[in-house]
């Protein structure tokens, strides 16, 4: 599953202490992002969809998936039936199948309950950080996963979303503060992070076009579903040889996409790295 993505071995295998220090430094950048994004999610969930702080806490604990939680704001505002929201959430989070499969070999010797908890805490960021950490270390380190999943992602996300929803309660005119544009801006920004080749680009453009077209012909509810189903089908029409896939989701290469920009810039300068 990771054959296309293992072309960038580390310059040397780090000691455990060195690798963990690097993990913590990389994690700090993710924490900043998670706090900021979590806060605006809480704000938008409160002001746009009317979620109470309890609802926001439940979303952050039970769903714990930024893009899906944000998307649910749009679904609720659009009046989608809850079962449809569940199905769309499942589709949106289907990429976790790829992360889960990629992490499975490392967790193979761990007890069932540990793998079950690890699964619930699996996010883009936890996958990215722990995969990069394991690569630097040259072996699987459970500490890397739990640190990334709980300390870097879950705790900051939970408290930031709660803070956003509590402050959102006191905002009477969200449009004046520009809060209404947070939702579409977050959606388009998250989509950029998932576009790793021509197939994804085609799926994204067609998804948007079909979504708008069908929305105008029927309703936004139907349009969003149509875009989400038709977009990927059209994306698959791009032949694999022409897809220019750089970092398929679930591979080690995709983990690099979550690094801080300055880290990416430095890596580009290393001999043998692709531009």
């Amino acid at each position: 599953m990771t054959d296309a993505a293992t072309a960038e071995p580390p310059a040397r295998v780090l000691t455990q202490a060195e690798a963990r220090r690097k993990l913590i430094v990389d994690g700090l950048g993710i924490i900043v992002g998670a706090v900021g994004f979590g806060f605006v999610y809480g704000l938008a969930a409160r002001t746009q969809a009317g979620f109470s702080p309890i609802d926001v806490m439940a979303m952050s604990v039970f769903v714990f998936a930024g893009a899906a939680q944000f998307a649910a704001i749009g679904y609720v505002v659009g009046g989608l039936p809850w079962i449809v929201i569940g199905i769309l959430t499942g589709l949106l989070n289907a990429r976790h199948i790829l992360y889960s499969a990629a992490l499975a070999p490392g967790f193979r010797s761990r007890p069932f309950w540990e793998r079950a908890v690890a699964a619930h805490l699996l996010t883009d960021e936890a996958f990215a950080l722990s995969t990069a950490h394991n690569r630097r270390l040259g072996r699987f380190d459970p500490f890397g996963y739990w640190f990334a999943a709980i300390v870097v992602t879950f705790i900051p996300w939970f408290f930031a979303t709660l803070a956003g929803s509590l402050i959102g309660q006191s905002i009477v005119d969200p449009e004046r503060l520009g809060i209404d544009v947070i939702f579409p801006a977050a959606m388009i920004g998250l989509a950029v992070g998932l576009i790793t080749g021509r197939r994804e680009l085609v799926a994204a453009v067609v998804g948007a076009a079909v979504g708008v077209g069908v929305s105008l012909a029927s309703s936004p509810t139907v349009g969003i579903i149509a875009g989400g189903i038709v977009g990927p089908a059209v994306g698959l029409l791009v032949p694999k040889a022409r897809a220019h896939e750089r970092a398929p989701i679930g591979t080690e290469a995709s983990a690099d996409r979550y690094r801080m920009p300055h880290t990416l810039d430095r890596r580009r300068d290393e001999p043998g790295d692709e531009p």
Partner: protein
Amino acid sequence: MTADYVPLALIMLAFTYPSRALGLLNPAIERLPERALDYLQLVGPAVLTALAAVDVMVGVESGESYFTIGLPWVSVGACLLLVVWRRNLFIGLAAAVAIAVAGRAVGFG
């Protein structure tokens, strides 16, 4: 304080957990057809852009959908460009909000 959407969170959990657990609890996932895995990889970008585009371009009044152009186009467009350029979602969101606030302060939107 209400808890109206807690059941929705549980429904979303029911649809999210299986995809997270499939590989970790049952490695049989690797036996899924490659075409199915490829399709799953494309769902995220398509759903997210559909949500963004419909939110910005489609309005609804009295149950009728209509095409709309306005300040959110500029805000969301700026966010898109910044995220592509800087690979930093938070900067993009901050710019989108700043443009919306400034635009409305001078009478647009």
